[in-house]
């Protein structure tokens, strides 16, 4: 295989791998915002997922259990945010920032408490590390497929089921949901829990699938990039998935291009994914519309 072909394949596979965690978190963002709750806490829910996945993999030796734990603890944080944002009417942004800080601090403290070493966890069993395709592991392949299934499922759920339509109504006009005899607060809560579960899954991918350890700050702002993907994808599941892949592509591109364009310093290259996000969002300002009651407590 020539080097050129090999590099193109590398770019393709890296794009997929870099997109996966953002796809999950962005899908989480879509369902939460469709129900009317802006989920700033995606980053913290990813952290919770990444950390608990490592802890439970280490405890049981099974990365599948770790993955489930990641989903569960992401959902727990989703419950906390959802409860605060609905029944307690806490400002959604403030509650979300709180979630982020608690998750990051909790994981840092948990490292010392559980593993007795600050900074990074020991290495644990990776999710299906064997090779199915030449450059991505079986586990990564499975998570890519699952991500697509989630996008498909969420799309079907939001547009084709009564519950999905009710959740949409919560984000557009919660009063109408009340008038129809349903409790929009409860629907919002369920949506944010699902959002947390998806973000937790994305976090678990980072720690036990892409690598095999938790390290402080490893989510590195992906939760916020996912929020950008939600807007760029116009609050639709497939749109957000596409936007996440778009951002993943630029991250992969900077890896491959670095050192090949000699006049461009590596720092400029590393800014590429963020510049892409910035231009994508800036280009959309005024042309997209969020759900009418998005971010508004009811």
């Amino acid at each position: 295989m020539s080097t050129g072909v090999s590099l193109m394949l590398t770019l393709l596979f890296l794009t997929l791998i870099k997109s996966v965690p953002i796809v999950y978190a962005a899908l989480g963002g879509v369902i939460s915002e469709r129900a009317g709750v802006v989920n700033i806490g995606l980053e913290g829910m990813m952290t919770a997922g990444a950390f608990s996945a490592v802890v439970f993999t280490n405890l049981t030796g099974s990365p599948i259990v770790g993955l489930i734990a990641g989903v569960f603890f992401g959902a727990v944080l989703g419950f906390v945010l959802g409860f605060a944002a609905t029944f307690f009417k806490v400002d959604q942004i403030v509650a979300g920032v709180g979630i982020n800080l608690v998750a990051l601090g909790g994981a840092a403290y948990g490292l010392v408490l559980i593993f007795n070493q600050p900074g990074a966890s020991p290495q644990v069993t990776q999710l299906a590390p064997g090779q199915l395709l030449p450059q991505i592991t079986t586990g990564e392949t499975a998570m890519i497929v699952l991500g697509l299934l989630c996008a498909f499922g969420l799309n079907w759920f939001i547009y084709r089921t009564p519950w999905g339509l009710r959740i949409q109504a919560c984000g557009e006009n919660p009063r109408a949901v009340t008038d129809a005899g349903l409790n929009p607060l409860r629907l919002r809560l369920y949506s944010v829990i699902a959002s947390g579960a998806l973000a937790g899954l994305g976090g678990a991918f980072l720690s036990i699938c892409e690598v095999n350890l938790y390290s402080d700050g490893m989510t590195a702002g992906r939760g916020f990039i996912a929020l950008a993907a939600v807007i760029f994808g116009r609050w639709t599941p497939w749109g957000a998935t596409g936007a996440a892949v778009f951002f993943g592509f630029f991250e992969a591109l900077q890896y491959v291009l670095q050192g090949r364009i000699s006049w461009l310093p590596s720092d400029a290259m590393q800014a590429l994914p963020y510049l892409a996000a910035l231009f994508a969002i800036a280009g959309l300002v005024g042309r997209v519309r969020a759900p009418a009651a998005d971010g508004v407590p009811y």
Partner: protein, 342 residues
Amino acid sequence: MKHKAIVICAAAAAFLTLAGCGKHMAGAARPGQLALGMVTDVGGLGDKSFNDSAYRGLLNAQKSLGANIQVLQSRSASDYQPNLTALSEKHLDMIYAIGFLMNKDLDQISKQYPKQHYAIIDAVVDDPNVVSATFKEEDGSFLAGALAALVSKTHHIAFLGGQDIPLLRKFEVGYIAGAHQIDPSVKVDVKWVGSFEDVAGGQELADVLFNGGADIVYAAAGKAGIGAIDAVKTRANAFVIGVDSDQDSLAPGKVLTSMVKHVDVAVFDIAQAIQQKKGLKGHLIFGLKDDGVGLTDFKYTRAIIGRANIERVDAIRQDIVSGKISPPATPQDLATWKPVKL
């Protein structure tokens, strides 16, 4: 909508700033007990590399000198000053600033607390109350480069750096020169993770380098280097060279060697000198001669490298110690540097 966007941006900024300031505190020192403080660099503890090496030195001082130790971790460069100030307020016997990036902040803080003793690793701060310890990374990296050129089957090796800063350029430049000392036609690819923390990025960039044709990657990237070591585990005929700490055992047989930088020794020596109330010179330089830098003893890779190659690298080491070879330390030096005829 516009208002909300501003709030979200502010929230993101606040989060990324507040994410710093990890603490790992112990209780207060007893009277008469040696009290040592340390501020780690952004790679943080658990990097199995630079910061962990410094931490080992501190733990050693705790064990053999009975010192009370306190560590503050920095998650971003904006944590350096608050962390240094917090420790300075405690009036400790010695405060270590672990890392080149802290030099300006330490210069400022050390003037504010003229009676407090400080030590900085990897940078020179010219204040009477600061001891500076630097290492000749280019010398150790030169040996790593020579070894890589000798062992490479593809005639193509690579360097993976953390952040593109002058200190890391010493590793890069020394490595390239070392490879060219063996064979000027060896190709050396260079990539930067852009962070010392991004383990996944380190792993994927190492994959890109291996897929690009290199068969040996020298990973000088702190915690991100763990990812590179992980990437090599599943590859045949490919190796990583570790950095700062002895990383050979992280993937036995796949980590060719590690360019060890004995930050732990520097940290411990300074603590000991303080306890014995010895005067400290302003600038300590650790090189090949005093084992401040050097390669490991190839515990797992001796057979792969071969006796002749090990002897060749050892001969180069002698030539650097004797001054016959002086490895370049900056890209400018490298541009004019020529392999030395032996």
